[in-house]
C-alpha cells in the first residue's frame, strides 16, 4: 500500500492506495501515530479513493486512531470511499462513529456514500 502524506498545521491528510489488510494496516497505524506524537496532529483525513480492499484489520486501525484522537480533542474524517469498500465499512458500523465525507467533484465514484 502506498501512503501519500500531507501536513498542514494540525491536520494530517493521508491518501491511501492499494489494499488495507493485516500486512499494510500496521504501516498506516505508524504513519498516523508518529504524526500525532511528533507534531501534535489533531485532525486526520483519510482519502480512500484508491483503496481496493479493506478487512477488519484495516477497520480496526481506523477505529483505533479515532479512539486515540478523541481524548486529545481530535477527529478523523474519511473521504472518497469506493462503494464496495463503503459496504464493508457500513456492515462494521464504522460510519455511525466516524465522519464520512463525499465530494461532488468525484464524478459519482462515491455515489453510494451518504
Amino acid at each position: 500500500m502506498l501512503i501519500d502524506k500531507k501536513i498542514e498545521r494540525q491536520t494530517l491528510t493521508l491518501s491511501l492506495k492499494g489494499e488495507l489488510d493485516l500486512k499494510t494496516s500496521e504501516s498506516l497505524r505508524q504513519a498516523i501515530d508518529t504524526e500525532i506524537d511528533r507534531r501534535g496532529i489533531r485532525t486526520v483525513i483519510l482519502n480512500l479513493h484508491d483503496v481496493t480492499f479493506v478487512d477488519s484489520s484495516g477497520l480496526g486501525v481506523i477505529l483505533g486512531r479515532y479512539k486515540r484522537l478523541l481524548p486529545l480533542g481530535g477527529k478523523i474524517l474519511i473521504k472518497q470511499v469506493p462503494p464496495h469498500i463503503y459496504k464493508i465499512m457500513e456492515l462494521s458500523g464504522l460510519p455511525k462513529i466516524i465522519s464520512f465525507e463525499n465530494e461532488s467533484s468525484d464524478e459519482g465514484r462515491t455515489g453510494n456514500v451518504q
Partner: protein, 145 residues
C-alpha cells in the same frame, strides 16, 4: 462440472494474507461469480487467515496455515486450519465486537457469518482451529447485500 480441490500451505506471516485472497478471487472468477461475491469471498478468506496468524499462532511466523478450497456447481467450501493455541470459548469469540485486542474490532466472524451460508468453527485448545465456510452457489448471484 467435476469437483475441484485445492490446498495451499503457507507460513503464518501477514504477507501471505493477500496471496490467499488472490487464490480465492481467481477461483471465484472462474465460477463466474459477481464482483460483489468476489469481494465478499476475499474478505472472509482474509479474516480467517488473519485470525489463524494473529490468534491461532500469536504472530509466530514459523508456523503453517492451511487453506483448502473445494467446489462444484452446487457449493464452494473454504477451510482455514491452524495448529495453534485454539479458542477456549468459541461462542464468546464469535460475538460481534468481541476481541482480545483493543485495536481490532472483533468483526472477523461477523463478516464470515454475513457473507457465507454456513460457518463452522472447530477448535481444540492447544491443538488448533479449523474454520469451515460454505457458499451456496445455487442461489445464483442472489447475494446483493
Amino acid at each position: 462440472m467435476k469437483k475441484n480441490k485445492l490446498a495451499l500451505t503457507f507460513s503464518s506471516i501477514a504477507e501471505n494474507v493477500s496471496i490467499a485472497r488472490m487464490l480465492i478471487a481467481s477461483i471465484a472468477a472462474q465460477l463466474d461469480l459477481s464482483l460483489n461475491d468476489i469481494e465478499e469471498l476475499k474478505v472472509v478468506v482474509s479474516e480467517a487467515v488473519s485470525n489463524a496468524i494473529i490468534h491461532g499462532y500469536q504472530n509466530d511466523p514459523n508456523k503453517l496455515v492451511i487453506l483448502e478450497i473445494e467446489y462444484d456447481t452446487e457449493a464452494l467450501q473454504i477451510s482455514v486450519r491452524d495448529q495453534g493455541c485454539g479458542i477456549p470459548d468459541v461462542e464468546q469469540a464469535m460475538q460481534p465486537a468481541y476481541s482480545t485486542d483493543p485495536e481490532r474490532m472483533g468483526l472477523g466472524f461477523v463478516f464470515m457469518q454475513s457473507f457465507m451460508d454456513e460457518l463452522n468453527v472447530d477448535s481444540v485448545v492447544n491443538q488448533g482451529t479449523t474454520i469451515t465456510m460454505v457458499k451456496d452457489l445455487n442461489k445464483n448471484h442472489a447475494s446483493l447485500h
